[in-house]
């Protein structure tokens, strides 16, 4: 009792860092459905420690996002927390200004609309979302939104809040923050918006940051910058980070701990090196296997090329141009226009896979659509050499003359959900090209569709069902069946695997290689994902702002890139090996023309 004056010894910082700030125990979140409750999160437990990053990994539908949303109780109805506890230890936050008595809140017990939980959201726990455009209000300036976030929790004046907002924007490395604060979200690029979101999340120096796929919608070079930024801020402030992602490369890059989820359950949990090098659960092994399989050229393709080298050119593109918004404006003034495709020349040989890689806005998808004449080209020629050796210039053909060419050139779309008509059965969708080209009818059509479905590994019974009955990977197979229905020579695959989970990606790529062997196909494969291109393509063309900046054999370009942009792109790709973390020097290519 006499020792009251003596202050207790301050806890060593390492000890404080180990004590968890957030504990999730046996969390169950269920959605009431027509067929009874569906447990999206089923008995999940984990802890977050200050200054540490936990990566929650899983494929789509594994319940990782619902877990994150359950913590803040922002699950969309009819979802609700059923049982379990979410303990927030406020006294253990890294802020250090609250050395008061132990203060632990069970957030699962709070009402989702209560004042208590609103005080936690944003102040103790902040969240950033995948789509930065839809999570920022389009009608308020960035500055106003950050100021509002600050003033919601801290009672400060408008002027002070604004000063802090500028400070925050400076922290997230937005250039000229005094000017940027007056701008609206649409004036920001995708990466800038995500930075602004992070600035908003950090407005009240939260002790926990939940990042739900924050870089999925961004290009790899931007992703690398955002990841580095989160890491830096984390070490500055000592936040605990819960990072949700499906990308093992990102996990290897940033995680201290990894938790793997599947069907709402936590299947494996451990530190990063252990998970990557000695995975225990079959699902983790499969996930890592799929990632590692994509980290090299397909052995099957290499083998095939030794016996069947690519033949004569089937498609020659010369100086192709596509300009958007070129119409002359009011009073004949020339408006802004975009050179989406700016003088591209390419050659595709028979039996060859040509990859076109580039970031969003590089014009790679426009190029693919110009080749199919979905968009008319503004200049140049697309020479297609058919089976008989006749040359067609797709760019100059009249609309009526396109039918035979479109029978030989087919397309696979990126989004397996919007590319299949939801109002038609799978049999009707796959049979449509055969029917309208007058190739088969009635029982013959049915047999042919069944044959096509079995070629892509789908059961015959799929014919009677509607697309909504199938998962993304299965839908993409249906799209492939439709593409090969007319026995084409060339298939243009526009981001055909981007919407798929990593384990399905390899399956679809294997399927395409298999079909190439059976049907003598050539592919133009458009993607932003270098790993996929490296696995699948013989040659690669790198696009930047409508131009091809580098072209060559895939391995040569991937191992020894010549152009500065290719170097920047390759350096930004996260590598799925935690031991390689921080071994590469990143640089950004700004492009001088």
């Amino acid at each position: 009792m006499l020792d009251l004056a003596r202050r207790p010894a301050e806890a060593p910082p390492t000890g404080a860092a180990l004590a968890p700030v957030l504990e999730v125990k046996n969390l169950v979140t269920a959605f009431a459905t027509r067929r009874g409750p569906f447990k999206a999160v089923d008995d999940v437990s984990f802890t977050l420690a200050p200054g540490k990053t936990l990566c929650l990994v899983g494929e789509s539908g594994s319940g990782k996002s619902v877990t994150a949303r359950s913590i803040l109780q922002i699950v969309d109805p009819p979802g609700a927390i059923e049982s379990g506890s979410i303990l927030l230890h406020r006294h253990r936050t890294a802020k250090g200004d609250r050395a008061g008595p132990a203060e632990t809140v069970d957030m699962a017990a709070l009402h989702p609309r209560s004042r208590a939980i609103r005080a936690i959201r944003g102040r103790d726990i902040a969240m950033i979302f995948q789509e930065p455009m839809s999570s920022l209000s389009p009608v308020h300036t960035i500055g106003n939104q950050i100021v509002e976030a600050i003033r919601l929790h801290d009672h400060v004046g408008k002027k002070e809040a604004k000063e802090r907002a500028v400070e925050l924007l400076k922290k997230v490395e937005i250039p000229r923050p005094e000017k940027a604060i007056e701008r609206y979200p649409f004036e920001y690029s995708g990466g800038m918006r995500q930075r602004a979101m992070i600035a908003m999340a950090l407005a009240c120096t939260p002790s926990v940051l939940i990042a739900d796929e924050p870089t999925t919608a961004l290009d790899v070079t931007t992703q690398a910058e955002i990841l580095a930024l989160i890491k830096k801020l984390q070490t500055d402030v000592g936040m605990a980070v819960l990072f949700i992602t499906h990308d093992m490369g990102v996990v290897a890059e940033i995680a201290d701990e990894v938790a793997v989820m599947r069907f709402g359950k936590l299947v494996e949990h451990g530190d990063t090196l252990t998970i990557f090098e000695r995975p225990q659960h079959d699902y983790t092994k499969m996930l890592l296997g799929a990632v590692k399989a994509l980290d090299r050229p397909s052995p099957r393709r290499l083998q095939r090329r030794e016996t069947n080298p690519p033949g004569d050119p089937v498609l020659e593109v010369r100086d192709l141009r596509k300009v958007f918004g070129s119409s002359s404006g009011f009073l004949g003034r020339n408006k802004d226009y975009v050179n989406a495709v700016d003088g591209v020349s390419l050659t595709l040989r028979a039996g060859e896979n040509l990859g076109i890689v580039g970031e969003s806005g590089s014009g790679k998808s426009t190029l693919g659509r110009c080749l199919m004449r979905v968009y008319p080209a503004n200049g140049g020629e697309i020479r297609y050499i058919d089976r008989k050796g006749t040359v067609h210039d797709i760019a100059a053909l009249p609309e009526r003359g396109l039918a035979p060419v479109r029978r030989d050139l087919r397309m696979i779309f990126q989004d397996p959900f919007s590319s299949l008509n939801p109002r038609m059965t799978v049999g009707q969708i796959v049979g449509e090209p055969l029917l309208v080209n007058g190739l088969a009818q009635g029982a013959r059509l049915r047999d042919r569709v069944a044959e096509l479905l079995s070629l892509v590994g789908m059961p015959e019974s799929a014919m009677e069902r509607y697309p909504h009955a199938f998962s993304g990977g299965q839908r993409q197979r249906i799209g492939i069946a439709r593409a090969i229905a007319l026995e084409p020579k060339i298939i243009i695959a526009d981001e055909a695997t981007s919407a798929l989970d990593v384990s399905l990606r390899t399956q679809v790529l294997e399927l395409l290689l298999d079909l190439q062997e059976r049907l003598d196909l050539s592919f133009i494969f458009i993607s932003h994902d270098i790993a996929v291109i490296r696995y699948f393509c013989d040659r690669i063309a790198v696009m930047f702002r409508g131009k091809v900046v580098e072209e060559g054999a895939t391995e040569a370009v991937c191992t020894a890139p010549q152009h500065a942009y290719t170097q920047a792109l390759l350096s930004a790709v996260p590598h799925p090996d935690p031991r390689m973390r921080g071994t590469r020097i990143r640089h950004r290519y700004t492009g001088a023309g």
């Binding site: 459905t33 027509r34 067929r35 569906f38 494929e59 539908g61 069907f263 079959d282 499969m286 296997g289 799929a290 199919m372 979905v374 039918a403 479109r406 029978r407 087919r410 397309m411 779309f413 990126q414 989004d415 919007s418 590319s419 299949l420 008509n421 939801p422 109002r423 038609m424 449509e432 090209p433 309208v436 080209n437 009677e464 069902r465 509607y466 909504h468 009955a469 998962s471 990977g473 299965q474 799209g479 439709r482 989970d501 384990s503 399905l504 390899t506 399956q507 294997e510």
Partner: protein, 378 residues
Amino acid sequence: MTAAVLDPRAHPSADQASQWRLMWWAFRRHKLAMTGLVIVALLYLVALLAEFFAPYDPDAAVARHVYHPPQAVHFFDTAADGSWAFRPHVQGMRLSRDRFTLQTTYAPDPGQKIDVGFFVKGTPYKLWGVIEMERRFFGTVDPTQRAYLIGADRLGRDMLSRVVAGTRISMSIGLVGVGMSLVLGIILGGLSGYYGGWIDATVQRIVEFKLAMPTIPIWLGLSAALPMDWPPMARYFAITVILSLIGWTELARVVRGRFLSLRTEDFVTAARLDGCSERRTIFRHMLPSMVSHIIASVSLAIPGMILAETSLSFLGLGLLPPTISWGVLLKEAQNVRSIAQAPWLFAPGAAVCLAVLALNFLGDGLRDASDPYAQEGR
């Protein structure tokens, strides 16, 4: 590699469900809309069999029953000895007139009990002007007696019969009017949305011009131009045409918007690349995705038509007596005297409210359910 990851939520019964089945599932969850659907179905049933549902001929006037007040139905009859029996009846009323003020009052006549029942034989009538029938859905057991459940008007005509008869005109004018504007709207909106360019610009300017014109004066002007001596049938069609000439603009915009958003969908591009002709792309691939949206906007447009007809007739410029519509009936309730003496003349107004609300709820439910794929989120 291991087998494909299957979605545990996928359920076999939903796999073969077409869009209509999914829409129905979504619609059924909307309680208010289901109520609306039932009421709308009942209203159209009444409209279809109006002669059968009306207790009396709506034009039969009884001078003794001028402004007869509503009578309540009693189910049990107690005799003088205290015994009782199930015998639905209404209390008869006797008219008396004040000697000095000449004010008429109705007082219950205890001696007179008028038996009522379902499916009774009433005055003969012709269903749809063709089939001779005697049975009526509801009425007095003795066809010479009369019961007024919601009162009588200034000529002693049964209001209930008149409201029922008005249902046919008022509900059908909405349907026919919307049908006509639908044809115009789909053709013009479709052309505008699919082709774009100068066609789109022209159609949109026409639509904007139409929308900029004040509706009520236009209606008034057009219907005032109709010759007063036209037969009721010709007038009815003229009024529907006038209403739909204005109404198509909204539908044209809905259709155009759907075409614009669908035109860029991947599955429409895929249909073009499959070699589908323009016609097939529109009718086989685009229109089926739109039908549900169109139905929803149609069911939201019908109440507007009903209200427009009611207002025109109320102002004396729409349909004219002897045609019976809710608007025509409400015209009778225009003066202060009727409010003071016979508030039951407003009954057609209640019918208008019921129909408009039910159709709006139905339309809301249909609109919410019309995109089952957006709701299912998969």
